[in-house]
Symmetry: C2
Subunit: 220 residues, 2 copies
């Protein structure tokens, strides 16, 4: 069975933390995953400087995962850092959480509200959503993905999602994978009555499509 | 287990033909499906007139599938006829093959060539692809989905896909579900070396996402 390489765009020496996104993808889509994180960025990617600094590191980790036999690479960050560079560097399909989440939201219909680390949605998300973007914002007190692990952050995130719905959003797209980490999607659906699109799980969805076709083509 | 309602936008009294798309979705995603077709359109949807005529029929079939307990509806036509009207009419998620296929192609990256029943891609597909659309065309001799069942149609479809790749397409999106019916995707991937996005299977992918979240929200 082929393996999906998951690049975590945040540094940690805790294997359970590094492997969390991969485990959720395994549980939901029945894929095998192998996760690895970039070095030297304990707060992840949260602004232009940290984005730029991450790009060569992501390419390097993706190349290592491909060399170890991964048949697809998933960059698990909603800003899609290094997506084009990684596609140019490895000979296998590469998906990003931002573009995958935005594409999934497009297919599910309606106008999309984006909840993330900045009041403006990441460029990778805006480029795909186009005029289907209803509004975007960040939860109060949240600037970095690690802020979502603080007490009360989940409640503040739901409150922010409520403001997106009030601004016309018919679905809420998570543009920070920390919202996946805290498992916010079911609360949004239950409390606000709109679908929540989890960027990490959407990227797993797209990876499952790419990997299935790849396996099928090989087996002909 | 919940059921995906599949609306076939072509008339047939052959249950195996009507159920074909649903069966492929069941096999690939492990969903249960129930298929139904619209009346009085033995050549499906292939121009503005046949599109317009299909709209109220699709809404009616979708309403019936929803009333019978479907938890999501899939309109299995790459032109997405009646997508907005059906979303307004039923209280469950509705996906269309055109927008789902285009969204999946966006997430997988690169410029997209569209193979369908017309030299111009359907509006539902163009609206999602935007400037990622590389080129679009129809296989020689193919005007209606039923033409794809004729001898030589698969070879002519591969030849058309080759022209799309020569025009800059890095992936080929099927904008006619007849290309699903003849199982063309593996040939494209094998002979042309680019991913093929099958609109029906992409819609099944999006439906699987929507149905999973719905079930999860109910179970909280």
């Amino acid at each position: 069975m082929s393996v999906l390489g998951v690049v975590r765009v945040i540094t940690s020496d805790d294997p359970a933390f590094v492997g969390a996104h991969g485990r959720w993808i395994e549980q939901r889509y029945g894929l095998r995953t192998r996760s690895a994180c970039i070095p030297g960025q304990q707060y992840g990617v949260h602004d232009d400087e940290s984005f730029a600094r991450a790009v060569p590191k992501i390419v390097k980790v993706a190349e290592e995962l491909a060399a170890e036999g991964a048949s697809c690479v998933l960059i698990s960050c909603a800003a899609d850092p290094a997506l084009a560079e990684t596609r140019a560097a490895v000979p296998i399909p590469v998906v990003g959480a931002g573009s995958s989440g935005a594409a999934t939201a497009l297919a599910l219909g309606g106008r999309v509200g984006v909840l993330g680390l900045n009041d403006e949605a990441p460029e990778a998300v805006r480029a795909v959503l186009g005029d289907r973007l209803a509004a975007s914002l960040r939860p109060e007190g949240v600037r970095r993905t690690t802020d979502l692990l603080e007490p009360g952050a989940a409640d503040r995130s739901v409150a922010a999602a409520r403001r997106l719905v009030e601004a016309g959003a018919e679905a809420v797209l998570f543009a920070c994978t920390g919202l996946t980490t805290i498992g916010l999607a079911p609360r949004i659906t239950k409390e606000l009555g709109v679908p929540a699109v989890d960027a990490v799980l959407a990227a797993g969805l797209m990876a499952s499509y790419a990997m299935h076709d790849k396996e099928r083509a090989v087996n002909i």
